[in-house]
Structures are given as C-alpha cells and as structure tokens.
C-alpha cells in the first residue's frame, strides 16, 4: 500500500509545475472564501466594539422621537427614582477645513464621569489641585476641546494647538486614546450648545437605570427610551441588508473557490487514470487505488488549504478596510480592524481545501470504482462515453434549473431562498458547459481554421474531444465571467436608476450641507430666504425613528417647494399627492411600502413628541436614499408633531434667468461660507452621491477580481493537465511534421477557444444572473426597484478579461511546449 501511495506522491514531485498549479488553484479557492468570510466577520465584530466604547456603563438612552430635547425635561428625568446616573449628550458632526468630518460629543464632565471613562479622567483632574490647569480652560473657554489620537494624528496637532473647522478654530486641551477608531472630539456641553446654536437643548441623555419597567412606564409618552440591547439591535438591523450582501458575497466566493478546488481535484484524478489502470492490472484493489488518490488529493487539500488560509487572512486585512469604508459611507462610522490571527484560519482553510477536494475527486473516483479496469487502463475516457455523460449532466442541469425557478417563485418568503435559487441557477449553468462546447465547436472550428489554419482546427477539435476536462474548465471560467457580467450589469443598472432618481428628486441648483453632514442653523435659512432670485428652498430634515420595532426614516421637506420644482416618480399616487401632503398626509418610499407592507390610502401610526400620531399615506414614490424606508412629511406638520427645528440641509431652487442665476448662486455660496456650511452645486452634489455609490461597490468589485484570478487558475490547470496527458499526441504531431510554432499555436488556440466558449456562455448566464440580482436579490434585500439597463461595457470588459486570462493561462503550458516539443517522441514512458 505504501508503495502505491508513494508512486502517486512522486507524481507530484515529478510534475512539479502541474502540482504547483494545482496547489495554487486550491490555495486561491480557499483564500477567496476565507478572505471574504473573515472580512465580513471582522467588520461586524468591530461594530459591536465601537458601540461598547462610546456607551461606557450607560444602560439606556432617552431622547425625543426626533430632534433635540428640551433641557427643561432633564431635571425631572434626573430626579426619577429609577435613574442612578444621568449624562446629557450633544452628539453632532463637525466638518474640518481639510474636508474631513469628525464627531463632536458635548458632555458634562461631572455628570458624565459615572458613565464614560474619558470624562471621569477630566472631572477628577479638574477637582485635584495639582492638574486643574489642563482642564480648567476646557470648562471655562467656550472653544476648547479634547481630541482623540486619530484626529490629532490626521490633523497633525497636539495640545495647545487649534483644530481648524468650517465653523472656526477650536483649541485642543488634551489628546485622548480612542479605541473605537472613530474621529472624535469632546467639548463641554454648555459650549457645545453655544457652538451648535442650540441653547436650552440637548440631543439625548445617557442613563444608568435600575428599574427599566418603572422608568419606561413614566417616560414612554413623547420620548424614545432605548436599552443597549435595543441599540445594538437597531444598529444590527440598520446593517441588515448590508450584512446580507456580505454574506452573499462570502457565499459566492465560497462557491467559486469550491468550484476551483473541485476542478483541481478532479483533474488530479482524471489525469492519472492510466496509472490507476496499471495498478489494477497488476493486482492492486480499487480500494487501494482510491485511497492512494485520496491521499494525494488530501495532501494537495491540506497544503493548498493551509496556504489559502494564510492568504485568505491577508486578503481579509485588505477587504475589511473596504467593507469598513462602505459601512462608514452608508450607515455610521466604522473603522474595523482585521480579526487577530488564529490557528483556525489555517484549520478552516485545510478543512475547506480537503472537503472541496474530496467532493471534487468523488465523481472520477466513483467512476474508477465502477468501470472495468481495461477502460481505466486506456487512460482518457472515450469521447462517446463523455458525450453520454454530458447528456446525463445536462439532464441534472435541467433539474437544477427547475429547482432554481421554483426557489425564485418562493423567494418572497425569505431572501435566503432567493440566494439558494441564484446558486442553483449558477450550478445549473455550469452543468451545461459540456453542451455549450458541443454547440459552439462547429462555429469555432470554422473561425479558428480561417484564423490559424490547421493548428486552429486541431485545437478546437481537441477541446471537443477532451470534453471531460474542458467542460469543467469552461464551467469554472464561465461562472467567474458570469459573475463579472452579472455584478457589473447590476451595478450599472443601479447607477442608471440612481441617476434617473437624482435627476427627478434632487433638482435644486445648490445644496447646503447634507443629512450626513453638519446641521444648518435656522438663521442661515432665514437669511437665505432673503437672497434675491431664490425661487424656493427645500428645508430638509431626516431622522431615524423606530417604526413597528424596525429602524426607518422620517424626512421633513417643504411640500410646496418640491411640488413646484421636483419631479418625483410615483409607484402609487401622482404629483397631485403633494396637495394632500400639504394638508398633513405623508408619502412613503418604495422600500418603506414593501418593508412594512403599506400602500397608498393606508394609515400609519408613529411615535412623536406629542405621543402617537396617525398619518394617511398619500402616495408611494421611487427612492434609493435608504433601504430602511422613508416617511416624507411637510415641515410644518413635522414641527407640530416633533417640535424639532433642526435643519440637515437646504435645497436651493433659483428662479432667476441666465446671468442673474450665476450671481444668485454665488450669493448662496457666500452665505454658506459665512456660516461654515458645506456648499455644493447640483452637479457636485450628484457627483458626490455617485462617489459614495461607487465606493459602496468596492467589495463587489474586489470579488470580481478574485473570481477572475480563481478562473485563471482553472483554465491554466486544465491546459496544463491536457498538456501533460497528451505528451504522446505531441509526439504524433511532431512525427506528422507539425513545427514547434504549429504546436504552440494549437496550445494558444485551445486556451483562447476555452476562453471564448466561456465568454459566450457567460453573456447569457451573466445577463440572467444580473436580472436575478436586480429583480430577486436586490428587491428582497433592499426593497427597491432597480431598472435593468443594458450597457456594452460589462460585456466588453469581460470579453477582454476572458481573452487576457486565457492568454495568461496558456503562458506556462506554452513555455513547456516550446521547451519540450523538439525532443518529444511517440513513446510511452
């Protein structure tokens, strides 16, 4: 037995180049899956860490359902018997002159010291006689701050220097350590009220509550009380769709990775059929041969898996930054750090490499156990049998296709059913690879004959005759290319839908600040109204609320202004719906309508500062601003319900003709500068939104690159295996008078042929995959409609990728051909 195994293992050493290729194939497959999985886990675990740092020992927060709360209420809350500790907070954003944005917390060091460690340090220092000089200015000087080490490092400042913001300089008193990684600035709460022009108001109070039930019973009316568990749930559900997206990408990486490992393991077994035949003919049992194969596959699985686990860990370090950037752009600040290195990275990689390797080697090994030794001894499977197998595989493919269609029909039940349907579809498509080769070969033969003569004809014939190998390589490559087309088409369609939406909804000539930026003082709005040439100002306020236990958004706008200037696209209702909004109704976004299953004419009840309020839905509009859903309400009713005068941004519509328009715009810009507010023209604003959009798909793009690398190894492995297997055929070519150049042409043509067939198949599969992503996955995950938009770019890029990967994949086999062909003979070893 040992010698049987040894004979197999020596093969790895003897065919080093192929073994290395197989090893790398497995390693890259594992790395793709491990990297993506670790990156998404890192991001989500970092989120929990960041929340923990800022909450300190607080158990609950209390705030108005929307907007700031009056200081008048604080004394009563503080006096509640259930409240052990109480810390008022102002939590806002400040934009630096460098363009970066930082979070500014306004805290009372004396009240806050029981909640957060950083303020405990300030309070104790201020009380001591020795060190109060450092913190006295913090409490006495209105424009002094503490900055965290990240801000200090980025702005290159230290204690005693100024941090330059759009609202003027702030003097740094002390630099503190911040484990969350979020750029953070702390100011005395009284100074913060002054700085943000919100005297008499705070954003929330952080509490340590001893009797939750009693406290809630006394304060539920007009306030929102959130426990830490609820906060974590809210954050988690905010990220719900994003997490789903990450999980899908991890699964996709796993799918592609397993495919490559499967491919590699299958080649390992298939290419050694003849050796297995020799062993069987001299008395080795099928069990011994199977064990020898499994040992070889396991050695490749263990080594490749371990290498892949290490590579995956480093890949996750890169991906986690992209994931963090996306979460920060879309939801809340997150600077995730990669998970610490553990042995489990390697163990997981090995497990994956071995499991997928065994699964990959099972079909040929089962065949080995079933067929007569004489057939195994002949080496490669006869094409007739391959064609028969192809029919069986095609039938299984049809069954998979039927399964995927059934799953899509049931996807309304759960988005994971939709995911399962997508994977079943990709699996079905991969099973049709052999069929696609048979269909494509006659046309390709003519094409390659014209382009490359006899060499081209022979090459395409070889692809057809080696269906057992080439179909798996085509399947792996096709899946990667289809993913590329599908994801690109989905992103392109989404981008076009977003542009269409922006052109309808965001039609202001200029925008002052945004919902994610600094707040706009009411004086700035009042002053802006007096600028000549202004046709209308949309006063925009967006707050996150909890609706039926899930996060949602409420947006206040000026309905009269939007009715006149904007062009909303309606799923239900029409521009006449604005009349109802002006009378106190609301309109809701498509995602809100789908998520909460409400439609035009329905009434919804929301918690307000005055208690529950019931509002009628006057229309449902297309929206891509938030997947959690938005209730849009006129500002006058919003003020009545929430008593929140905060303004997030102003959309400015100019009614002045030609040159006057430019002058008005300039005045608006000057006014923004005066108040230290970010200003953007419509084009700049749209561009910024598209920039955020593009950055959110950075992970997806990385996934496409990984898929192509994986596919490259698939094709390279297939070509190399074919080359090793057909040494005798090369001898025949040589005997027939084929030159080294001719055989090199055959190798290149085989590679490009495989690439072309894969590409042709991927145009169909990728387009359907894009449609599935748009119509099933995105709709189920994000609750919005993306309109399919056909663009040539994804197909062109994928075509070039296919050709480039095919040429790159044949480089090594080509080198081997050029090196070895001149000495090849028709002989057996």
């Amino acid at each position: 037995m040992k010698r049987v195994i040894r004979s197999f293992l020596r093969y790895l050493v003897r065919r080093r180049s192929l073994a290395v290729l197989q090893l790398l194939g497995i390693a890259f497959g594992v790395a793709a899956a491990v990297g993506m999985t670790l990156a998404s886990r890192s991001a989500l675990e970092s989120m929990e860490g960041a929340v923990d740092f800022l909450k300190g020992t607080a158990t609950h927060t209390i705030a108005r359902p929307a907007g700031p709360m009056e200081e008048g209420a604080l004394a009563k809350i503080m006096g509640d018997p259930a409240v052990r500790f109480f810390a008022p907070v102002i939590d806002r954003k400040v934009r630096l002159t460098s363009g970066d944005q930082v979070r500014l917390l306004g805290l009372d060091p004396f009240l806050d010291r029981n909640v957060r460690s950083i303020t405990a340090q300030i309070a104790s220092s201020a009380n001591s006689t020795g060190r109060d000089d450092a913190f006295q200015p913090f409490m006495l000087d209105p424009r002094t701050i503490l900055v965290d080490e990240n801000v200090a490092k980025t702005a290159d400042i230290k204690a005693g220097q100024d941090l330059m913001t759009l609202q003027g300089p702030l003097r740094v008193v002390e630099v503190f350590a911040n484990a969350s990684g979020e750029p953070l600035v702390i100011m005395d709460i009284g100074h913060a009220q002054e700085f943000f022009r919100m005297a008499g108001y705070i954003d929330r109070a952080d509490l340590v509550v001893t009797d939750e039930e009693g406290f809630r019973s006394r304060w539920s009316q007009g306030f929102t009380i959130e426990s830490n568990r609820q906060k974590a749930q809210t954050l988690s559900s905010l990220l719900g769709a994003f997490k789903l997206n990450l999980e899908a990408l991890s699964l996709l990486a796993l799918f592609v990775g397993i495919f490559l490992i499967y491919n590699t393991a299958m080649f390992t077994v298939v290419s050694r059929r003849r050796d297995a035949g020799i062993l069987l003919s001299i008395g080795a049992s099928r069990g011994q041969v199977t064990v020898a194969f499994l040992v070889e596959v396991l050695i490749l699985g263990i080594t490749g898996g371990a290498l892949g686990g290490i590579m995956g860990y480093f890949l996750s370090k890169f991906l986690v930054q992209i994931v963090g950037g996306t979460i920060s752009s879309l939801y809340f600040f997150l600077r995730p750090s990669a998970l610490p290195w553990t042995f489990w990275n390697v163990a997981g990689g090995i497990l994956l490499g071995c499991a997928a390797g065994i699964v990959g080697s099972l079909p040929p090994l089962l065949e080995l156990r079933r067929v007569q030794p004489v057939l195994v001894l002949r080496g490669r499977t006869a094409s007739r049998s391959a064609s028969r197998k192809m029919k069986i595989i095609g039938t299984v493919g049809l069954l998979c296709l039927a399964l995927s269609l059934s799953l899509f029909l049931l996807s309304f039940l759960n988005v994971y059913i939709g995911f399962a349907g997508a994977f079943a579809f990709l699996l079905a498509a991969s099973l049709f690879a052999g069929f696609a080769i048979v269909v494509a070969v006659p046309c390709l033969k003519r094409l390659f004959s014209c382009a490359m003569g006899l060499a081209g004809k022979v090459a395409i014939g070889n692809i057809r005759e080696n269906l057992g190998r080439t179909s798996v390589a085509v399947a792996a490559f096709m899946i990667a290319l289809s993913m590329s087309i599908g994801l690109s088409s989905m992103i392109d369609s989404f981008r076009h839908s977003l542009i269409w939406w922006m052109n309808g909804q965001l039609r202001g000539e200029a925008y002052i600040s945004t919902k994610a930026d600094v707040t706009v003082p009411e004086e700035a709005y009042e002053e802006l109204k007096r600028v000549p040439g202004i046709g209308g100002i949309d006063v925009f306020r967006n707050v996150q609320i909890s609706f039926r236990g899930k996060p949602a958004g409420i947006t206040s706008i000026d309905a009269a202004v939007l009715q006149k200037w904007a062009q909303f696209s309606w799923l239900e209702g029409s521009d006449r719906s604005w009349d109802n909004v002006r009378r106190g109704d609301v309109i809701v976004s498509e995602s809100f309508s789908l998520r909460f299953k409400v439609k035009m004419g329905d009434a919804i009840t929301i918690d307000t500062a005055r208690g529950p309020a019931t509002l009628r839905i006057a229309g449902v509009y297309y929206d891509y601003a938030s997947e959690h859903g938005v209730i849009m309400i006129d500002r006058s009713f919003y003020l009545t319900l929430f008593n929140d005068r905060t303004i997030n941004s102003l959309g400015v519509f100019i009614d002045a003709p030609g040159p006057e328009k430019g002058r008005t715009l300039e005045k608006v810009r000057e006014l923004s500068q005066k108040y230290g507010l970010p200003f953007a023209t419509r084009e700049q604003f749209h561009k910024r939104i598209l920039g955020i959009f593009d950055s959110t798909f950075a992970v997806t793009r990385s996934m496409r690159i990984i898929a192509v690398i994986v596919a490259f190894f698939g094709i390279a492995g297939a070509l190399m295996t074919l080359f090793v297997e057909r040494q005798k055929e090369f001898g025949i070519y040589r005997a027939l008078g084929f030159t080294t150049g001719d055989v090199a042409k055959i190798t290149v043509a085989e590679s490009i042929g495989l690439g072309l067939i894969s590409f042709l198949m991927s145009t169909v599969v990728g387009t359907i995959f894009a449609y599935i992503l748009i119509r099933v996955i995105n709709r189920q995950s994000f609750n919005w409609t993306i309109f399919y938009h056909l663009t040539a770019q994804p197909y062109l890029v994928t075509f070039l990728t296919a050709v480039a990967a095919s040429i790159a994949a044949c480089a090594y086999p080509l080198w081997s051909v050029i090196r070895k062909y001149p000495v090849m003979q028709i002989r057996e070893e």
């Binding site: 040894r6 004979s7 003919s281 001299i282 011994q288 002989r827």
Partner: protein
C-alpha cells in the same frame, strides 16, 4: 492434463453506437497448465479483448472464463483482484511501468501487492532478465527493451501460474524482440508457467507449444504458422 484456462461460449460486444461492435463470438478455449500459447490474428480480430477477459480486466457480455477451475464472474471484484495479485502476471505491449517508481520498486510493488514483500527476490528477478545494476533507474531512463524486461521481471517475480502477454514484442525491434521472447518463454518453461502471448509476429510461433489464430471474433487452432499472413 489439468486445465489452466477455460472459456465457455465467450461473447463480448462493445457499445459502438449502432455499428457492429461484436469483438468475440462464442470462444471455447481450453489451455493446459504449463502450455505456451501464441495467439495470432489481424488487428481487430479480438486478441486483446480475449486477453483482457482472461485477466478479469473486462467482463464478457455472455459466457464465462475459468482460471484454475475458478469462475472469474463468480469470484467477484475482490476475488478477481486477488487472482491478479497471486495467480496472474501481465506483460503489456507498452510496458505499463509506473513512471514514478524505479525499476526495483515497480517489481517490488507486485510482490507487495501479493503480500510477499521481498527486495532480494525482486533484485534476483531483475538480475534474471539481465538488468542487474539498473534497479535504481526510472522507466524513462531505460530503453524500450529494458522497460519490457522489467515488465517481464514484474510478471515473473511472484511466480504466477499464468502469464498473459499482450504483444510483448510489438514495440521492440526484431533483435530485442527475439531476446524478450526467449527470456519470457524460457522462464515460463523453467517454472511450468502457463503463458498466453498475443502477437502479430509469426516469430512468436517458434516459441509456442500451441498456435491459436483469431479472426472476426472467432478462434481457430493452427498446426503451424505456415500459411498465416504476418
């Protein structure tokens, strides 16, 4: 005389997609222990198919094969494997040595599979075929004739009662082929081993006790090679 190999109404049909794929048509054969058989015939006459069926490497469509009185079909997969390990030696036209094992390891492998690992015996077998000193070489470091000698050493080393040789000289020049035939038949005669040699070459007849000719899937007994087309 005891039968070493017997076949009864042996048929073999291949699936050729509608064409006539009958390779053997009711072969009746009885080979006595220690006999050396030359099995001649044109390409496609069914020689190799018959040999594969005798070795249990393939299954007949109809009929049965008996080796030393044991029905191959009745032995099952495990039994046939045991048979190949202990009672059969195989010599192929294309040598079929494992490329990743040395000459010695290839020979030793046959002994190990038979459960009798004995390096000295393997070395002796290699010496017997005249290749002492080349034990450590890999197949690709040996000439065609040398590879075939190693294949013969591998077949002989476990002292099987039957050796099946599929065109053992088919891939060799006539001088080397003669040497291989002399070696193979000589050793079989010395040890009383039954040898069935499939061949195109009429030269084989000179070394055989009995000549069988195959044509169109049927077998015919011949007195001599005279009149047989090469």
């Amino acid at each position: 005389m005891t039968s070493s190999i017997r076949t009864y109404d042996l048929w073999k049909e291949y699936d050729t997609g509608g064409h006539d794929g009958i390779a053997l048509r009711g072969i009746e054969l009885d080979i006595a222990r220690g006999q050396i058989i030359a099995l001649l015939g044109k390409s496609g006459s069914g020689k190799t198919t018959l040999l594969n069926l005798l070795a249990g490497l393939d299954e007949p469509t109809r009929g049965r094969v008996e080796i030393d009185g044991m029905d191959l079909q009745g032995l099952g997969e495990r039994g046939r494997t045991e048979l190949r390990r202990n009672k059969l030696g195989f010599v192929f036209q294309f040598f079929n040595l494992l490329p990743t094992l040395t000459a010695l390891e290839n020979v030793l492998l046959a002994l190990e599979l038979a459960g009798k690992p004995d390096e000295a015996r393997a070395l002796a077998s290699i010496a017997l075929v005249g290749l002492a000193g080349k034990e450590g070489r890999y197949p690709h470091e040996l000439s065609g004739g040398e590879q075939q000698r190693i294949a013969i050493a591998r077949a002989l080393v476990k002292d099987p009662p039957i050796i099946l040789a599929d065109e053992p000289t088919g891939n060799l020049d006539s001088h080397t082929g003669t040497q291989v035939l002399e070696l193979l038949t000589g050793r079989c005669r010395e040890s009383g081993t039954t040898l069935v040699m499939v061949s195109h070459s009429l030269k084989t007849c000179e070394y055989a006790d009995r000549i069988l000719r195959m044509s169109d899937g049927r077998i015919f007994e011949e007195e001599s090679c005279e009149g047989l087309a090469p």
